[in-house]
Symmetry: C2
Subunit: 147 residues, 2 copies
């Protein structure tokens, strides 16, 4: 049985469900991104944290948890790792001593620059079947339902 025989299920009810297509697309996309980013010692999740740390927006850990749909305790582990590799730092917030603001170090900024190139190349590959205007439309629709 050839590996591509399962394409016949493309006609199934399931394959018409947007939720299923969404899950399938992101499984493929995240898999791709993880294997590429791994060459830089990052994964999709630590890349996301690094990106926000490098944004200049000075996110707190609580904000990272909310925006990335992760639990606060997971952010601790991710920031621990990024801090250990000296890509980000925890800065005490001047207004609230309970709060840490996460900012990228110079090394982190440089790593982010490289990682973003990798991420964008990966994305282009994942969306290779779409035209430029279709990619733009997909992004528009996704941000409409998710932001």
């Amino acid at each position: 049985m050839a590996k591509s025989d399962a394409v016949r299920f493309g006609a199934s009810d399931l394959a018409q469900e947007t939720e299923f297509l969404l899950a399938r697309a992101r499984a493929a996309g995240t898999g791709h991104a993880n294997s590429r980013l791994l060459t830089l010692g990052l994964k999709a999740r630590s890349y996301a944290v690094l990106s926000l740390a490098a944004s200049g927006l000075e996110p707190t850990q609580r904000e990272l948890a909310e925006f990335l749909s992760l639990d606060a305790s997971q952010i601790v582990a991710l920031v621990d790792h990024l801090e250990k590799t000296q890509l980000v730092e925890r800065h005490p917030a001047p207004t609230d001593r309970r709060t840490n603001v996460i900012v990228a170090t110079a090394k982190g900024m440089e790593m982010y620059s490289r990682a973003r190139d990798v991420a964008q190349a990966t994305e282009a590959e994942s969306l290779a079947a779409l035209s430029d205007s279709e990619r733009e439309e997909l992004r528009r629709l996704l941000s409409k339902i998710t932001l």
Copy 2:
């Protein structure tokens, strides 16, 4: 700090990445679907298996693994559970005694009918921000990159 303060990151580079939006949309969608389907004793993954079992396409376990992007060993557990609750049956394939074909029982067909209604209602809710034509366009774009 109010919970919705993290929307300010909507302007970040990360929020412009399709991969990130994809991951976010499916996390919300699968979460929704799981909690709704749980009232029927199903999850998104067992619903997907049941759907294909009920399709009349007679998938093998290997085909289920491939089409659902899951490992063969995970299919074993999912089919075990669905078989234990008498929603599907393993039928020996006439052409190859190694192979099982997974088919829905009468009870499974009836359950699928109800579960599909739930899944479609959930999907409509997840995509509430989109017009009908936008939903159709999103589905078209996703199936283009994933099938």
